[in-house]
Symmetry: C2
């Protein structure tokens, strides 16, 4: 058998086997909320090679339930790739043949960076609910320090979907000199009342669980599984479109006939229960609360009397904004508001609304037009990097 | 002061002070689920006068959290009118100068009709979670028996919004000879996967509450307040549009500045918490579960291999279908599917999509075009009644 007839396995199409690294920071981080974190760890992964003049680095920012494991596998027989493996790797939109890619778990996360589930060095106990509220701005600050440690003065691009897009946008505002391009996918300049309402109900589901113990569940050797499961189920509805759910499940029954009871009757119930249960076993409830508040508080225009245009005034990067037609969590209209402000502020912006039935989750799904637009924009960046490389 | 300068109070513009009545039924009711209820009570109210040939009766069907108290007040100083007082009364769309209006609490409800919170005559204990699953068809059967007792052979109209619209539609299919008109507002021929998903999460919120005790909470002198509160909050988001929430609350803060914590920060959180808490004190959790299952199971086309057109074949009534542009729970597309089937089946149907920002709740809000269309259709019915009156 010639090697050309051997099909490439997913791992061969990926960045391969990856090992996360952790950096300790002992310089205090003052937070927007007025509190400070005296020291912290950030866990991160890198894919590809940093070039000689350190100009090909791309930062990937994760969303609510994401982490640092964006691409590749943890072992040769790992069956599950990183959460954005479809978009990061050789020949993929964020092409690791061109870029040195950095992906971290944000502060407050539960993937290995310092968060509610870490020991507070001042008390010797877990932070739990006492972990301070962080904001997107704080994350960008912590990411800038990570960039310093990695010798990255300027990002060729900061890229993210959903809450990740908010970080990309904030980088361009907080550190205009350190970002060449910001790629803001399926995001929004701020949450709507409905978005906040969904978050509040998710939080209420968690805090109403008697196993929550005011956030000190680990002290009671328990976790608020049911509340976290409910929160995830609520979130999940908002990630999918009505259409996508209809296509995926319709009104299909689990059994041949109605049982006329409260056990699972429809496929969609089964799916939500399964997804919720799985999530509740791996994610930290205090981190979930924190992430929803990070979303609620995000509003870069607020410091500029609500003017996004003025907030954008000092940015110097190129923007790529992508939205998805059936995304009703952060609808195309929200991206268009952002794009309008960029245009008014005289900033270069490429905008595409991708026709997709997959709702908010579409940013994770490598559909053709999305991949083509994402690849084109990133290729342009790679060309710029190569043209300027010393 | 002349009497003409005295402004009419809301009670004077209503059907006035109302007293509900209860009828006992001791004939067994066989249910679609295969079980039966041996005897039961239905609580109801009537507004207006039944005419000599009993041809001016209108049945009002309530939605998930509704009850028999659709119009009027319970005392001279009662500050809260029935849930559809805006549409039922003298000079209102369902004009009590023309019609004899009947409004009941459905079987399984918690407003006074037999339901989970009633004593099961076979055990001498509360039904609780053992109350059998009823369907819209069962309700129509029980309503037909109520009509018999009230001497109403034929309804001039059966009218309802949301789940109430499903009852109006089912009347026209189960008893084509007993309905002259069916008014189906903000409804749907069946739930989508997303609709079912929201219901499932609401149920899970209730059943996950440790105070639920597998539905036997009264035996433990408690109620699953937190679960029911969450369920109502989830429901509430789906009743309002993103736009309506935005107009009502925007991102307004409860206090002047962010508190950076998990207490209520935004007006919309405060509103949802208040609404949820209020509801959880008055509504029965088992009834809530039951009502969501009634919704899930509704699918009149199912018996006809999914053909709504064939399901409608034997209906003989006139239809009025109304939808609201911003209703994303039961969107205009769902009403249009119903209307298309009616047209294909050769049935007379008037359809209007009302431009409204109020989401699903729009069917409760007396906006101008809605009132004008509703009034016009009901006036036509009144004319028919008068023309045929002996």
């Amino acid at each position: 058998m010639s090697s050309s007839s051997v099909e490439k396995s997913p791992i061969d199409n990926s960045v391969g086997v990856i090992k996360p690294k952790t950096i300790h920071f002992d310089q205090e981080l003052a937070l927007v909320c007025g509190k400070a974190i005296s020291q912290y760890d950030l866990i991160y992964e890198t894919y590809g090679e940093l070039n000689a003049d350190h100009s090909n680095a791309v930062l990937i920012c994760h969303a609510l339930s994401g982490d640092h494991h964006a691409a590749g596998y943890y072992s040769e027989d790992d069956s599950k790739a990183g959460w954005w493996d479809s978009c990061i790797g050789p020949g993929k939109p964020v092409d690791t043949n061109n870029f040195f890619v950095v992906s971290l778990n944000n502060l407050g996360g539960c993937g290995g960076s310092t968060g509610p589930n870490s020991v507070n060095p001042e008390t010797g106990k877990l932070y739990g609910p006492d972990f301070p509220i962080v904001t997107v701005k704080d994350w960008v600050e912590s990411q800038a320090r990570l960039a310093d440690k990695l010798g990255i003065e300027t990002w060729a691009a900061v890229v993210g979907g959903s809450l990740g897009g908010m970080q990309a946008l904030t980088w361009s505002l907080s550190y205009p000199d350190r970002v060449k391009h910001a790629v803001v996918i399926a995001s929004t300049p701020k949450l709507t009342a409905q978005n906040i309402a969904f978050n509040e109900i998710s939080r209420k589901a968690i805090t109403s669980d008697p196993e929550f113990h005011a956030g000190h569940y680990y002290r009671h050797n328990t976790v608020p599984t049911k509340g976290l499961m409910l929160a995830r189920m609520i979130g999940h509805i908002t990630y999918l479109s009505d259409e996508a759910m209809g296509e995926k499940f319709g009104r299909d029954l689990k059994t041949a006939e109605f049982n006329f009871g409260y056990d699972v009757e429809f496929e969609v119930e089964s799916y939500l229960n399964y997804q919720g249960k799985r999530f509740s076993k791996t994610f930290d409830a205090n981190t979930y609360l924190l992430m929803t508040r990070v979303l609620d508080y995000f509003d870069p225009a607020a410091e500029f009397e609500g003017s996004l245009e003025r907030a954008l005034k000092h940015s110097t990067c190129g923007y790529c904004v992508v939205s998805f037609s059936s995304d009703w969590r952060f609808s195309p209209e929200r991206s268009e508001q952002l794009v309008s402000a960029m245009v008014k502020a005289g900033k270069p912006v490429s905008y595409a609304e991708i026709d997709s039935p997959y709702g908010h989750d579409a940013f994770l799904i490598p559909t053709e037009r999305y991949m083509s637009i994402f690849t084109a924009y990133m290729s342009r960046i790679a060309q710029e990097v190569n043209a300027n490389a010393s």
